[in-house]
């Protein structure tokens, strides 16, 4: 039994731990920096500006249709780097494992991380592992940090949205959140939905090639599109108007949200981005998005307007206008 689960010894720095690292991590992530066996990675520094981002990942369930905590931890941080317009160079990863966590699950997660990193072309160059006693964590927590380089001339920031700019999304909204909700305990509706988890830096690179003057990029993860737009509006001191009829939402997501009393605008995404660019370049940016497999369902959803209060409003499909809900807490399903 103990041989197949994580024990406190695995985090104690002794022989069990070096065995684990040797067997699992190095073998899966396999790259020259990690293989040197140091506690750090020494790399050549690229010219220009660096970007760094970090993200901790806790999720229930650990495995879900379309991904798992491992691929999510890689994509999440790569995307944070990519939202600066940066090209990711390397990743670090830290695990917190709960005593008793099945080794087979850890292996599955690590392999999935390695696959995700390899597909993205970004090595995991250093890492750390700690084990906490049973009950002090929920299975596994993963923190990843990403380093990247931002090219000359790219100047993307949440404060750069200007009245007249166009707002685009790279694809359908709410897929990840609904896929996760559908698996959680007590939720029995059937969906064939998969999480949209994906690394977006290559999509971003082709967007920048088409429209170098993108003003803002952000991935609408927790809190969904509405939270993301409100953050950008507040940072830039502008308002936004989006059109309900233009929002790409899968029918299955719309149906599940309806059932649960949730708004797809508030539901998390893991492989989507919001882009804001000068209005006259919107069509060019849309074309670049449509050209990439991760942007096939991209759409221009609205525009930036003047508004000192930083309000995000929605034009309903019936022609009425209302505020977009800025969610205060966790989105809880309603009853009636």
């Amino acid at each position: 039994m103990a041989e197949n689960t994580i024990t406190l010894a695995h985090g104690s720095g002794g022989r069990a731990m070096s065995q684990l690292i040797e067997d699992l991590f190095r073998c899966a992530f396999d790259n020259p920096w990690l293989n040197q066996g140091n506690d750090c990675a020494v790399m050549d520094s690229p010219p220009g500006r660096l970007v760094m981002a970090t993200d901790s990942h806790v999720i229930t369930p650990l495995f879900f249709p379309g991904g798992d905590i491992g691929s999510l931890a890689v994509h999440g941080t790569l995307n944070d780097v990519a939202m600066s317009g940066g090209k990711p160079i390397s990743l670090s990863v830290a695990f917190i494992l709960e005593e008793g966590f099945p080794l087979a699950d850890l292996e599955r997660i690590v392999r999935s991380m390695a696959d995700a990193a390899r597909q993205a072309g970004v090595p995991v160059v250093t890492g750390d592992t700690k084990v906490v006693p049973r009950g002090q964590a929920d299975g596994v927590y993963i923190t990843t940090t990403g380093l990247g380089r931002v090219s000359e001339g790219v100047n993307i920031a949440g404060s750069r949205a200007r009245p007249g700019d166009a707002i685009l999304v790279s694809g359908t909204l709410g897929d990840h959140g609904v896929a996760i909700l559908s698996l959680r305990e007590n939720l029995q509706f059937q969906t064939t939905l998969e999480s949209d988890t994906a690394a977006l830096h290559e999509l971003v690179a082709s967007m920048l090639a088409a429209v170098p003057d993108i003003h803002c990029l952000r991935d609408p993860t927790r809190g969904g599109l509405s939270c993301c737009l409100y953050e950008l509006a507040q940072q830039s001191g502008v308002g936004m108007i989006i059109e309900e009829a233009q929002l790409p939402v899968r029918e299955a997501v719309a149906g599940a949200c309806e059932l649960l009393g949730l708004d797809p605008l508030n539901v998390a995404n893991e492989g989507k981005l919001v882009a804001i660019c000068p209005g006259h370049q919107a069509q060019a940016l849309l074309a670049a998005l449509h050209h990439h497999p991760l942007g096939r369902e991209a759409a221009i959803i609205g525009q930036v307007v003047e508004d000192a209060h930083g309000l995000v409003r929605l034009k309903t499909r019936y022609g009425g206008m209302r505020h977009v809900e800025w969610l205060a807490g966790e989105a809880l399903p309603r009853i009636c």
């Binding site: 007590n186 309806e258 019936y318 206008m321 209302r322 505020h323 809900e325 009853i335 009636c336």
Partner: protein, 367 residues
């Protein structure tokens, strides 16, 4: 899903709005109360008021089950949840309703009480089966819509001899609340409205007959309506026409779901398991006679209030809270002094800010 799309067709909705605008008399003032929180939410979400003439106004009613749950019942839920042997199961929104001192089930859970969110009574039964060593209390809230499901759960628990399951019943009844709000009582003046948009799902259970007093006695037209934008607007047009013709009738716009007799089977289940309480406290409306259901003596063994005797005292609402006026359709949410300042969906002072169906939450979220 598909069959709904015709009730959301943008062209049809605009046409209906235009038809209302054509018929509305610019010299008159129309105040229509949507009783049900589902309608309040739909009207706000689809920004329907903005499609209609300015002299036609929606007035929000008290039909949000979370909003009318009084502080003392929240205290009861917390007291039950704090018993070490108890797992308290309830619908999500209940977790955030403030009890005395602003205490909530959510906070009780953070402090160690075992409170679980369920989506259906069947989930609560399953928790009881999965934890034979614990006492599982289903804290049941809702109007006539959710009461039949609670009845079925109690019958099922009895069938299975599920000795560790019980329900704490807070089901409330629509017609008494409608009467209190529309006709006023010793606590408050009547809401002055020209018509009522009647509940959708509640009516599917109770039918149309219970509303006759609204039309005949209170001389107010009532149209039962569905939740889709076209449903609501069609009901508005029907109310406008009744108003102009000087008619006061109970009409049914939602014929695809609501039959005049309602659902006699569901009512029979409720009659078997529940007994009307002599009176029950509503947030904002005070104590209303025969306005809620308790568990019948035949099912006393499954009644959490009898299994775990807990004393709670009536709770005064926060002094700044204007929920009573809002729930009675006498005040617009924004007119409340604490709206959006002391009271937000994140930290609600009053219950109307809790559920997305509450008038204040709808106004806050959708502006």
């Amino acid at each position: 899903m598909k069959h709904l799309s015709e009730y959301r067709d943008a062209g049809a909705v605009r046409q209906m709005a235009a038809a209302i605008a054509r018929e509305v008399d610019a010299a008159r003032y129309y105040r229509f109360m949507e009783f049900c929180g589902g309608h309040t939410h739909a009207i706000a979400r689809d920004a329907l008021a903005g499609l209609l003439p300015e002299n036609l106004q929606f007035v929000h009613g008290p039909g949000c089950p979370v909003c009318v749950l009084p502080g003392e019942r929240v205290d009861l839920a917390i007291a039950l949840a704090q018993r070490p042997e108890v797992i308290l199961c309830t619908y999500a929104d209940t977790l955030r309703v403030p009890g005395s001192g602003g205490h909530t089930l959510l906070r009780a859970r953070a402090q160690g009480a075992d409170v679980r969110m369920v989506y259906a009574t069947t989930d609560a039964l399953q928790v009881a089966r999965d934890h034979p060593d614990r006492q599982v209390v289903f804290f049941a809230i809702g109007f006539e819509t959710t009461a039949p499901a609670t009845a079925v759960a109690l019958l099922q628990a009895r069938d299975e001899a599920l000795g560790n399951f019980s329900a704490c019943c807070n089901h409330v009844l629509t017609p008494p609340a409608m009467r209190a709000v529309l006709s006023g009582d010793q606590e408050s003046a009547p809401a002055r409205v020209n018509g009522v948009i009647g509940p959708s799902h509640v009516s599917a259970i109770i039918g149309l007959e219970p509303y006759t007093f609204v039309a005949h006695e209170l001389q107010t037209p009532l149209v039962v309506a569905g939740f889709e934008p076209l449903d609501v607007l069609q009901a508005v047009l029907m109310l406008v026409r009744q108003t102009h013709a000087g008619r006061c009738e109970v009409e049914n716009q939602y014929t695809r779901v609501v039959s005049p007799q309602g659902n006699p089977k569901a009512r029979a289940l409720m009659d078997q398991v529940f007994l009307p309480r002599p009176s029950f406290a509503w947030r904002g409306l005070g104590r209303l006679p025969h306005s809620a259901l308790g568990i019948a003596d035949d099912f006393a063994d499954l009644d959490a209030e009898r299994r775990f005797p807990v004393q709670v005292v009536p709770v005064e609402d926060h002094p700044a809270c204007q929920c009573a006026a809002v729930l009675r359709g006498q005040m617009e949410p924004r007119a409340c002094r604490v709206f959006g300042r002391g009271c937000t969906p994140e930290s609600p002072l009053g219950a109307c800010m809790v559920s997305s169906e509450g008038a204040c939450a709808a106004a806050y979220r959708y502006g």
